[in-house]
């Protein structure tokens, strides 16, 4: 089977501390794959290795068919990344942020203009283009981040806690967009600790101290642990793992 994202015993150690411990995942194209776990469970470390921001200590991984150890340059043109922190330029206007990131991904003027129109219509940002980015409410800044990460039509989107401190309505809207992108064939790899967000995922994996404790669809996990809600299932797995 050809996976969009695939890892084999991927491991990252920081000195004596093992942040990510032999994880094996396979994510299919167009899938929304949720990466759940408590703070410090190793979610961000895993995502950063897949994006080429960190070098794994051992194990291997492929993203869009390319080796994360050797072919990071090829991977970079095919992925979009949204970090948990807002990382665009607050002092620039919305349009300038879009232009910059489009250019970094090598879009030429005409394609960039077309994609900017398309993305801002899709995300409802059109009226905000001349606004200073830092003056926008949080939810809109997150949408802009998504727009910037998505301008070059990446095959895979890595979202690291994308809705950290966004209000529930904005979060809902944000996930509607994610589902649309997935329906169009974009693979979504998302970390979160909001259970309501996990429900949107096709499959989730639950990480406990660097290891994957469970991996299945939300429905199957609930069924397996005899729980009504995903939160109960999550707690059952985490407590089981810690015992």
């Amino acid at each position: 089977m050809n996976y969009s994202i695939e890892t084999n015993d991927l491991t990252k150690k920081f000195g004596p501390y093992t942040a990510v411990d032999h994880i094996n995942v396979g994510v299919q194209a167009g899938e929304i794959f949720g990466f759940l776990g408590a703070n410090g469970a190793g979610k961000t470390t895993a995502i950063r290795m897949l994006c080429g921001l960190l070098t794994p200590t051992s194990g291997s991984g492929h993203v869009a068919g390319f080796d994360i150890m050797k072919e990071t340059a090829k991977i970079r043109t095919r992925i979009g990344y949204m970090s948990q922190k807002f990382s665009l330029y607050p002092d620039l206007v919305v349009r300038d942020n879009l232009k910059l990131f489009g250019s970094l991904y090598g879009l030429n003027k005409r394609d960039l203009a077309a994609r900017m129109d398309e993305m801002s219509a899709f995300l409802g940002l059109t009226d905000l283009l001349p606004r200073i980015t830092g003056s926008l409410p949080w939810g809109w800044q997150q949408r802009l981040s998504l727009a910037c990460a998505n301008l070059h039509k990446p095959q895979i989107l890595f979202l690291d806690e994308p809705t950290g401190s966004v209000d529930p309505v904005s979060r809902r809207n944000f996930w509607d967009l994610i589902q649309l992108l997935s329906a169009q064939g974009t693979t979504i790899f998302v970390t979160t600790h909001h259970m309501d967000e996990a429900e949107y995922c096709h499959r989730i994996s639950i990480m406990i101290s660097g290891k994957i404790a469970a991996m299945d669809s939300p429905q199957a996990l609930k069924k397996k642990h005899n729980c009504e809600t995903l939160l109960e299932a999550f707690l059952a797995i985490v407590e089981g793992g810690n015992r």
Binding site: G52, K85, S87, L88, Y89, K99, F101, G106
Partner: protein
């Protein structure tokens, strides 16, 4: 343009063709937006050199004039009055008061703001007019200002000897005929001294501080990470980030030379082209130093705290601007050889004051260029390394 080329080949292990220009252009454009938006910083960057020049120009006068002194004259005579008048009329001293007896000299220095006290002996006139017995003057000097104290110690004795002899109409005996000629700055104008020095300090400050701040700011914001996951290469990021600051530093350099010329009358004896090229090489070295600092600091505050002791202080103290390098202890002399400012000061003084050319200056220019390349290579390496 030369800066861009040297950066290109220095940053990448293969020739400059590796760089895709639209990405760098986009980054440069963005950096210019930042600079324009942050007009307060821009204003400081442009106004500071001019402000510092006026400050140095009017405050830093190494020539000593009209030092205020007191004279104790226990037995006044026409001769002592004549001597006191001569002291007062000299350009060196200004007599603040003549007293019969000072009592405790300590009180004079503490209460009246004089720098020296001349105490004529009670038998001064008698001894002066009688051959074979030297007339004596005790000179007390305020040593709390070390610089002034040293100068006074050196000038007072010859001054008093000469003045007294001319009062007596005795020709000054000649044993050795010493004729001093000061070359390159015959009027000893302090502007000729501080304009090159300020150029060295300000270019270092602007270049190192601004680059290290702009890159650590990207780290803090997380935007650097956002760029690192994009296809742009680390070396391209560095070039795109620092190119605007090369221009900004060059504008500052031009500003210093213009103010130096029009306000302080400092003209450049040598080639302006050579000076510009040397300045660009120096800016490049300073920017690379700033880059290196940004690779080891996580926050803007860190960068700021490192820049001051690592660049500005050595530049001021060890480059030879304030203290002659030869009078430093050996370990500091070695340190002064390791900082870019030492070489640039040699170059810029050479060009502005002596009008020397490439034949004499290629060596320091080469050292400066190599330092820049080395620092850049180290920072690109450190920048590229992933945790």
């Amino acid at each position: 343009m030369s800066i861009h080329n040297s950066l290109g080949t220095g940053a990448a292990s293969r020739p400059g063709a590796r760089f895709s220009n639209p990405r760098i252009r986009a980054l440069i454009r963005k950096e210019v937006w930042h600079i324009m938006r942050d007009w307060q910083t821009l204003l400081i960057v442009l106004a500071m050199p001019v402000f510092m020049m006026f400050l140095y120009g009017y405050a830093l006068d190494v020539n000593i004039n009209d030092v205020e002194v007191m004279v104790e004259d226990p037995s006044p005579t026409p001769e002592t009055a004549q001597l006191i008048r001569a002291i007062d009329h000299s350009s060196l001293f200004k007599v603040k008061g003549v007293v019969n007896s000072v009592g405790n000299p300590d009180d004079i220095f503490k209460k009246r703001h004089v720098k020296a006290l001349f105490r004529l002996s009670p038998s001064f006139t008698r001894d002066l007019l009688r051959p074979g017995s030297p007339a004596s003057i005790q000179v007390l000097i305020d040593g709390s200002d070390q610089n002034l104290g040293t100068v006074l110690r050196n000038v007072t004795e010859p001054f008093l000897q000469k003045t007294t002899l001319s009062l007596l109409n005795v020709p000054v005996p000649v044993t050795i005929d010493v004729r001093q000629t000061i070359l390159y700055n015959p009027q000893q104008k302090s502007a000729l001294y501080f304009v090159p020095g300020l150029m060295v300090i300000i270019l270092m400050m602007i270049s190192a501080l601004l680059t290290s701040l702009t890159i650590t700011r990207e780290k803090e914001q997380g935007s650097l990470e956002q760029m690192l996951v994009s296809p742009i290469r680390p070396a391209e990021i560095l070039i795109g980030k620092i190119a605007p600051y090369v221009v900004l530093a060059a504008i500052d350099g031009a500003l210093i030379l213009l103010v130096g010329y029009f306000v302080f009358g400092v003209s450049i004896s040598g080639s302006l082209t050579l000076l510009s090229v040397a300045s660009l090489i120096y800016i490049f070295a300073a920017l690379s130093l700033g880059l290196l600092i940004s690779t080891i600091s996580k926050k803007q505050e860190h960068a700021m705290l490192i820049v001051l002791p690592a660049t500005v202080l050595p530049t001021v103290l060890l480059s030879g601007f304030i203290f002659p390098i030869a009078s430093l202890p050996v370990w500091l002399q070695l340190l002064s050889m390791a900082i870019p400012a030492t070489y640039f000061l040699e170059i810029i003084r050479g060009i502005i004051l002596k009008g020397v050319g490439l034949a004499e200056l290629w060596r320091p220019m080469l050292v400066l260029g190599s330092m820049g390349l080395f620092l850049l290579a180290v920072s690109v390496r450190k920048f590229r390394v992933k945790a």
